[in-house]
Subunit: 255 residues, 2 copies
């Protein structure tokens, strides 16, 4: 469960792009954002992927920004006709777009008289919005209200993320520890795991099975915002597994 | 745009699992499902990722099965306490779960007296549901109404998909062709691309930029259900690009 803590700060991700829904592009931004948010103690609570269609983007963005503390969007901020994310964010907030002078200045410095209409589209920001720094390449992203609008290109998105975290009201970081079971499948592990999980509803216990040449096994991951309590639960889980006759159990480091 | 055709058949994907939202696991099922649906002519219209939380799964599933022709869920059908997808699907449809005799028979054959309560959880199917074959390993998935519930483990999910397509009312397959531009960035490509896109609203034109040692470039992907019309548009696009002074243009095979 990602839920539990009262100080929970939530974020949703809205992935925008036909290329994801067509299967042409493998999204990796969701995982990268999730890992980034973990470290600052913000829970990624939901993700949605929608096509480059105005009504779909606006509808999803309004649903998510209402339900969660923050929303991060990725994709659709390039110069081509199918990049309508800025238009959709402005529509969702009921504001106009304007050409941000800082972006125009960057573009004039780079392109000079090659600064055409398509490139100028990338300078458009919703009225009331601020810029999100792009330390990698190309124009910045922007933020308005509780929404952060980032690029879709992974290396650029990751760079922009560095300017997002400091603006979020973060909870405490989540600590994750992993107990590895070898030679036993989930079917055997489930009962002792469930006993420990039910005894600690404030923690997240997940079982991630694998199949190795040596047979079945599973990595049991426990996540908590309380490192000291986590240490006790790790010992409790290992004891419960061994009491169930599962002997090949050890904590591993997957940091 | 994924939209356009009147004979459009739509599907949404609901990815269920804390491990995706925690960033621990990189989802690849969405891409694989998208590519599978393309071939049978079904449009993947939206995807959502939710945690292993009953209310979140039920809410998302009911929203998606109402809005689209089909919904495919992945994940949360294992034996452990955190696998609640079957419970959530039954809840969404307002029916009970029952132990499917075919699955119990498979499990008895495999596990004998090792068929414990945890494993029996994987035999539970919503009343009114049918099985989805699992040609890989472990118990089958199930389908009820317009929802298909598949495993989260990618190789098992892909195997189960083979039993999903034949049950869908598919449109015509979508054909995809790609024009590669090298030495010019999206900023230069955007204008001619937009002209061609606006002239053919029934087709999907996307620009997917890359950065190579030789500089900027982009793959321009055109998707249509009409292969003959697509051939004409490819020629039209290449002519428009060259007329804009973009010479390093050729069709490539990305099949």
């Amino acid at each position: 469960m990602a839920s539990g803590a009262d100080d929970r700060v939530t974020c949703a991700v809205l992935i925008i792009g036909d290329e994801i829904l067509s299967g042409r592009t493998q999204d990796t931004n969701l995982r990268d954002i999730a890992r980034y948010l973990n470290v600052i103690g913000v829970d990624l609570a939901e993700a949605r992927t929608v096509p480059d269609v105005m009504d779909e983007i606006v509808g999803a963005l309004n649903a998510l920004r209402e339900k969660y503390d923050y929303v991060i969007t990725t994709g659709g901020i390039g110069p081509t006709h199918d990049d309508i994310t800025a238009d959709a964010v402005a529509e969702a907030f009921g504001v106009e777009l304007f050409e941000h002078p800082e972006i125009i200045a960057m573009m004039e410095a780079r392109f000079g008289d090659q600064l055409n209409a398509a490139r100028r589209r990338m300078a458009r920001v919703p009225v009331g919005g601020d810029l999100v720094k792009n330390p990698v390449q190309g124009p910045p992203g922007f933020t308005i209200g509780n929404v952060f609008t980032l690029a879709g290109v992974p290396q650029i998105m990751r760079g922009m993320l560095e300017d997002v975290g400091p603006r979020m009201r973060g909870g405490r970081p989540t600590v994750s520890r992993t107990v590895r079971v070898e030679g036993s499948g989930e079917g055997a592990i489930a009962a002792p795991l469930e006993v420990v999980a039910k005894a600690h509803p404030d923690m997240s216990l997940g079982s991630y099975p694998f199949f190795s040449p040596d047979g079945y096994g599973s990595n049991l991951v426990i996540r908590s915002r309380d490192p000291e309590a986590l240490t006790g639960v790790i010992a409790e889980l290992i004891a419960a597994l061994k009491a169930a006759g599962i002997d090949n159990v050890r904590e591993i480091d997957v940091a």
